[in-house]
């Protein structure tokens, strides 16, 4: 009895669109892309709008978390909701970010820059959005290692042909 590792007969391909730059919203695509690569699946991530922060050298290690506008926010394991007004207090974003980073680290999940590096090393293909790069005045030099190119929306539609596309 040999496990079926399906080496050759998978043509599955997954493309993630990473459009957010808040700490809690950058992990879904990164975690799933990493998992897909570990399953031998061709994996792409297209970074656009605030998602560009994930691959921008100056910003990727400093992504922030706020619960402003997130009425579901509750402290870990507690059934109480955090008042929205508190989220706007000075310094609260810093505190909330620190707490979330600690929880992520406690699970032994890497910070964003290391996660991106891991994905690139595992063969993940990283693409920056041209319109966002133009808007933000970013060039290839501004991006972390592993980003392959700045591509247009049309380029992305072409490369994602036949893929499962997931917007995050």
């Amino acid at each position: 009895m040999i496990p079926n590792f399906d080496d050759d007969d998978t043509d599955r391909k997954i493309c993630f669109i990473a459009s957010k730059g808040t700490l809690d919203m950058v992990y879904p695509s990164l975690i799933m892309a990493n998992a897909a690569l570990g399953e031998g699946i061709e994996t792409h991530i297209f970074f656009t709008f605030w998602g560009m922060d994930i691959i921008t050298k100056e910003l990727s290690e400093d992504l922030q978390f706020t619960w402003m506008g997130n009425t579901a926010m509750h402290p870990p394991g507690k059934k109480m909701h955090m008042p929205q007004g508190m989220a706007g207090l000075p310094g609260m974003t810093k505190v909330a970010t620190k707490m979330m980073k600690k929880q992520i680290a406690d699970l032994d999940v890497p910070e964003v820059p290391e996660m991106v590096q891991m994905i690139a090393d595992a063969g993940g293909q990283l693409w920056a959005c041209k319109m966002s790069a133009d808007m933000m005045g970013l060039e290839m030099d501004d991006f972390v290692e592993g980003v392959q190119d700045i591509i247009s929306a049309t380029d992305f539609i072409e490369l994602s042909e036949g893929a499962q596309v997931i917007f995050t």
Binding site: I2, A35, G38
Partner: protein, 104 residues
């Protein structure tokens, strides 16, 4: 649970064919398991497999790819070269430990 004969030894395996008894494993069995999935073991493979077994014994669970690269000192890129496509599953299969459960 079923029994399979690998490298002349009877070992307990789960429904997918992964070994379930840590102590039933031997290096000969490891080589035979690797051969079954088309991998010819080199020293670089053994470095990974030995780490996976030692870490499993110490931690009580199979190390994730990140742990093998961070703690075991084998870069992610190399893991994908040594155990193509599905490194985490392949290395645990050969090392006779369960598949890793962590998400990362």
């Amino acid at each position: 649970m079923a029994t399979a004969t690998i490298a002349g030894a009877d070992v307990t395996v789960d429904e997918e064919g992964f070994m379930t008894e840590f102590s039933e494993w031997s290096e000969d069995i490891g080589s035979a398991l690797a051969g079954q999935i088309g991998i010819d073991l080199s020293d670089a493979h053994w470095k990974v497999l030995n780490f996976v077994r030692e870490d499993f014994q110490a931690q009580g669970e199979t190390p994730t790819l990140r742990r093998v690269s961070k703690v075991g000192g084998v870069p992610t890129k190399e893991l994908f070269q040594l155990f193509p496509k599905k490194p985490a599953k392949k290395m645990s299969y050969i090392a006779g430990v369960p598949k890793p459960h962590g998400c990362v």
